[in-house]
Subunit: 353 residues, 2 copies
């Protein structure tokens, strides 16, 4: 593998000094880019795009050709694991993901096995290898997975949900069954992320999109416990280099201290808490990634630059900050606004290092 | 007006001793009750139901006839103010509220005047009078309004939103215009709540459903500032009795200390933070109302009772707790589960008083 030419992102995750604050965006390879929409059209369905290592590589690299981003992230979906478990993932237009065979009973849970990423999910590890080769050391590549709780939410509900009545029903009334499901998922995520690391992923991120709908007690027991299990099971090193891990719970601002007790290297933070306050709370235990409101990208470039400056000032001087949005970029964003954002991070952050 | 036979709720809001913890539920007059669905059918549309003081009174009292609740809440909608401003509120089946004439430009904002609750919203104050009479002192009656930020969100988006791109676009790029809109709304909410108090509301609550989508900075500037203005403008007393006020921001757990600096009497708390921790943070500045996850009502009565016990223990001994759900009750809940919940609060809480 080629030597890494830009290691700011990995250094920041490991809380080492950098020249400027590294920056990337969740869903940076996505619908706001016309070139993404063209590749997506060529591919057919969204899952066809995920399943083609060459096309997944093409869209992964597109934002890097436009912007001086400091990391690439594997183009894939958070629901590949339940799909590999045979639940029948479908993306119906305007509806979000649905599963043809949702998990509702003890029998359904018992039928699920820990996935073998080298079989059902080989298209993902193949994509990682192809992308690493194509990157040729430009920036590091991030692998990722959904968190066990978030995967379980979709698997039990069968689709996106507003109320989470089915998954919470199982959690409240059949906690042992829910733990059995979450343990199978945590073991699967460990296998999956380690396979991505062996294929060349240089950092990994766990997305807990729905942990924020839980009480503090339930979050610790049903989400964070399994993310901690994952961090414990991860390969921490590959090709002689450390492979840092990032945990992100959307709406999890109240639990940063608990999350920092897992042995992860960094926490993703959404925009609802002040990043300087978050830094005070976690101290030197972990790096922080975030946390600009994705909606600011609808505003003028001047206003975007102002917001970048505010967040950098809030984090303050020193190591341990990866700049990012607090959630994925929206499809209607003007790509020129993204340029203003990314450039502002590098321009304004030198003074803090 | 008849003497109040049960003043637990008002005493708890004022942090005075009570025999057991008072309890009510957000949306307690609602679709989970078959008798509500029958009245709703008779009324015609949802807004027809809100606009009829007699039918609004009928549904307000229905849950009190089933359960030993410690408060009644006016049956109405949070969007009556923008409707009175002429925006054309519609409820289309399965879609949530929409406005025919959303607010998008400086001209649209300038065209809005502070509402006169004795004209356009007389049906609300009439409902308050009719309900107070029908209650005959059984329990206190709560009046309410949406918060300025939450009203603005619906008014600018024109409908429910996932991304808030339009309202945040106005906030980021035209902050002065947004402040003009929010100030008109805050003045209107003051008029509206004071009219409800004069008509007989014995406590008032401001629902900030969408403050939680903001950054801390934007929350203080665009939501909390205007709720504080409202608290300052409220009549604090009527018929020689204090009229306490409650502020509730869904997803606002991070900002309780800031909210407690307004001169409100109580804060509503959703289920994502521990109520004992919330109590430690606000000290004796305010009472707390909450905070059971509404989804627990899908679980078995035994599990519901367990959760009630956990929350009461978390709050601990002493004054200042009103038990409630952390958000409105869901339409699919079994009414018998509600009975288990309400009874458990009274049964288990005596030991803490």
């Amino acid at each position: 593998m080629a030597d890494l030419k830009n290691d700011r992102f990995l250094r920041a995750l490991l809380r080492k000094p950098v020249d400027v604050t590294p920056v990337w965006m969740m869903r940076q390879a996505g619908r706001y880019l016309p070139e993404y929409r063209a590749t997506r059209k060529k591919a057919g369905s969204f899952m066809d795009l995920c399943r083609s290592p060459e096309l997944a590589c093409e869209v992964t690299l597109q934002p890097l050709d436009r912007y001086p981003l400091d990391a690439a992230i594997l183009f894939s979906d958070i629901l590949t694991i339940p799909d590999a478990m045979g639940l029948g993932l479908k993306f119906n237009t305007g509806e979000g993901p649905t599963f043809e065979r949702p998990v509702r009973s003890a029998r359904d849970v018992a039928a699920l096995g820990v996935i073998d990423p080298n079989a059902e999910l080989k298209y993902v590890t193949d994509a990682v290898s192809v992308i690493r080769k194509a990157l040729n050391g430009r920036v590091p590549l991030i692998g990722f997975s959904g968190s066990p709780w978030t995967l379980a939410t979709y698997m039990v509900e069968g689709s996106s949900s507003k109320e989470y009545s089915k998954v919470k029903g199982m959690m409240f009334d059949q906690p042992k069954l829910m733990h059995q499901l979450l343990d199978t998922l945590a073991q699967s995520v460990i296998q999956y992320l380690n396979a991505q690391i062996k294929a060349g992923a240089q950092a990994v991120m766990v997305f807990d999109t729905w942990g924020g709908v839980l009480t503090s007690r339930d979050y610790r027991e049903f989400s964070l416990q399994y993310m901690t299990q994952i961090v414990d099971g991860l390969i921490n090193e590959n090709e002689g280099q450390p492979v840092p891990s990032i945990l992100f719970t959307k709406g999890g601002g109240a639990w940063l201290e608990d999350m920092a007790l897992s042995k992860c290297n960094a926490l993703g933070v959404d925009w609802t808490i002040d990043i300087g306050e978050a830094r005070n709370r976690v101290g030197d235990k972990v790096a922080l990634q975030g946390n600009m409101d994705p909606c600011i990208l609808y505003a003028s470039p001047e206003r975007i630059r102002e917001e970048v400056a505010t967040i950098l000032a809030s984090y303050g001087k020193g190591e341990g900050h990866v700049f990012n949005l607090g959630h994925g970029i929206h499809p209607a964003i003007n790509p020129e606004h993204v340029a203003a954002f990314i450039n502002a991070v590098h321009e304004f952050s030198a003074q803090y290092h």
